[in-house]
Amino acid sequence: MNEQHCQPTRPTPHRRWDRARTPSLRHRPTALALPWLAATALLVGIPLIGSAWLAFTDYYGFGAPSFTGLDNWHRLATDETFWHSLANSAKIAAIAIPLRTALAIGCALLLHRRSSMNSAARTAVFLPSIIPDAAWALLWLWLLNPLYGPLPLTLEAFGLPSPGWFTDPAAAQGGLALVASLQMGEGFLVALAARRLLPGSLHEAAAMEGAGRIFTFRRITLPLMAPILTLLALRDVVLLLHTTFIPALLITAGEPHSATLVAPLYVYRRAFLYGELGYASTLSITLLITAAAVAAAQLIVLHRTRLLELL
C-alpha cells in the first residue's frame, strides 16, 4: 500500500531560470494555503485569543471586561453542572463514535461495488449529512415523539415498549447519539474511498486461499482500513463535542433530568441565557483543551501501535 513514495521535486540552485519561468506557487504549497490560513487567523485565531483573555475576566456584554485573575477557574473546578455536562457529552460520544464508525464502514462495504442500486443507496446514506442540522433535529423531534412519532408507533405496533426517548435519561442520551450517528455521510465517503483503494487482487488472493467472508473481513479488509477508520474516529471525538449541541437544544432541551445537557449547550446557556460571557469563555477554553488532549492521546496511541505506517 505504501510502496510508492513520491519524491518531491526540489528546485536546484543552478536551475534558477526555471523558477523565473514557472510561477513560484508551484514550489510552495504553503503559499497556496495562505488565503485559507489568513482567513483562519482572522476568523478563528483572533476570536480564540480574545476568548482566552475573556476567560480571565468578568464580562456581561456591556461595558469593559474586568480582569478577575483565576476566579473563573476556581469556579469551574467546583461547577458540578459543567462536569456533569461534560460527562453527558462523553457518554453520548461513547455510544455515537463506535456507532458512526461501524455504520460508515458497514455501509461502505455493502455499497462499494458499482451498480445503479448501490449508487442510489449511497446517495441515501449521504443525504442526512447535507440536511441542515436544525432541520435534521426537528425531523427527529417528530420521529421520536411519544404520542404521534413514527418510531414509537412502529415499536408499539410490534408490541415493543418505546424506550422513552424524552423521559428516560439513558434513552434520551441514546436517542441523541442515534441522531448524531446517522449523519455520518462524510465518514462514509472516506470509508468508501478507502475500500475502493484496496487493490482488488488482495481480496481475490484471499478468495483463492479459501478465506470466507468473515475471515477476509477480519484479517484483510479491516486491518487495511484500520488507519483510516482510526482517523475517522479521532475526528469524531472533536466533532461530537460540538454537533450534539443542536439536537440537544432543539429536541430535548437538555432534559430529562439534565441527561442531555451536553457541554456546548451548557456553555451556550452560560453565555447567552445568563450573559456570563467571561465565564462561558473559561468553559469554552476548557472544552478546547479537553478535545485537544483527547486527540493528542489518540495520536500517541496511533503512533505507538504504528497503525499510521500502513497508510
Binding site: N2, A207, A211, R219
Partner: protein, 340 residues
Amino acid sequence: MGIAIHGAHKAYRSRRKQPIAALTEVDLHVARGELMVVVGPSGSGKSTLLRATAGLEALDAGRIEIGGRDVTTAAPGDRDISLVFQDYALFPHLTVAENIAFGQRARGVPKTQITTDVAQAATMLGLTAALARYPRELSGGERQRVALARAMIRRPKAFLLDEPLASLDPDLRLRTRAEIRELQRRLGVSMLYVTHDQTEALALGDRIAVVRAGRIEQVGTPDELYSRPSTAFIARFIGTLPMNLLPPEALGRENGPVTGIRPERTHLAHAGHGHLTGRIAAVEPSGEETVLHVVCPDTTRILVRVPSSDGVPRPGSETGITWSNADEHHFASAEGPRTA
C-alpha cells in the same frame, strides 16, 4: 488429469452493450505434471482464461475440470488450485510468514502443522531469513518467491501463474524463470502459465497454447510451434525474429499462397541471384549475428539473419537473398492458416 477446459465461452458487454467475446470455444488440456504456457498478445483473452480457471470469473458456457473433478461452479477456494498474481497480491500488513500461512489459517489447519509447513515452504524458496519481515521490506524477487510459497504451501493440484515475471528486472527474470521451472518439476504439479512474452513461453513450456482474439490458434511443443506454425500469425508471433511473410507478387507469381521464411534460414547471395534482390535498409549487429532489413523493389521488407563473421554488408547496397525451398512455409493469407 491436471486441468481440462472444455468449450469455454465468455463475453463481456461493452459500454454500448455490445457483447465482446473474450473467449470463444476454448478447449485446453493440461496433463498432470505438465507446464502449459498460454501466450498471446495483450487483450487476447489469456488472462480471462486463467481467471476463469481460478474461479474468479464465471464462464458463460463450458466446463472446467481440475484433477478429474468438475469445478465449473466451485468457489475459487474450493478448486484445489493456487494462483500467483501478476502484482503478487501480498497482504501488506502481514509478515512473510503470515502471508504464506494465510490459506492454512483460513482453512483452520492446526497451528503446529502450519509452522512446519511454513518452515518447509520457506526453506524450499530460500525465504527462511525473511519470514519476520513485511512485503514492503522485500525486493521484487523476494516478493515473487513469497507469492510462490503462499501458492505452494497447501500442495494444490495445479498452479496458475499470471505474468509472474512481468515486474522483475531482466536478469532476475531469467533466474526466476528457471526457479519456477525447477519448482514445478520438483512438486510435480500441473501449471498453467500465462505470458505475453513468446521467449518466456518457448523457454518454459512443455507445451504452449497460442491465444489470439479469444481463440486458441495452436497447442504444441515449442519445437512444433517454431517449425510448423499452424497460422501465419503464429509464424510471426513465435521466434526471436518474426517470420518473413512474402506475398506471391514478391516472388513474381500471379497468385498462390503466402510464403513464409524464417530470417535465420535465409542467406545472402550476389545481387541479381537467389530468390530475391533488394536494397539493405538497415543493419543491426547483435554480437555473433547481424540482422539485415532488406527492402525489395515492391516494398516488401525482409529480415535476414547472418553470422557476423561473414562480413557485414553496408546499408544502401544491393544484395540477393536465398534459402532452401525445404525451409519454406505456406499460408493461405498473411494472417491465415497453413496450407503446406
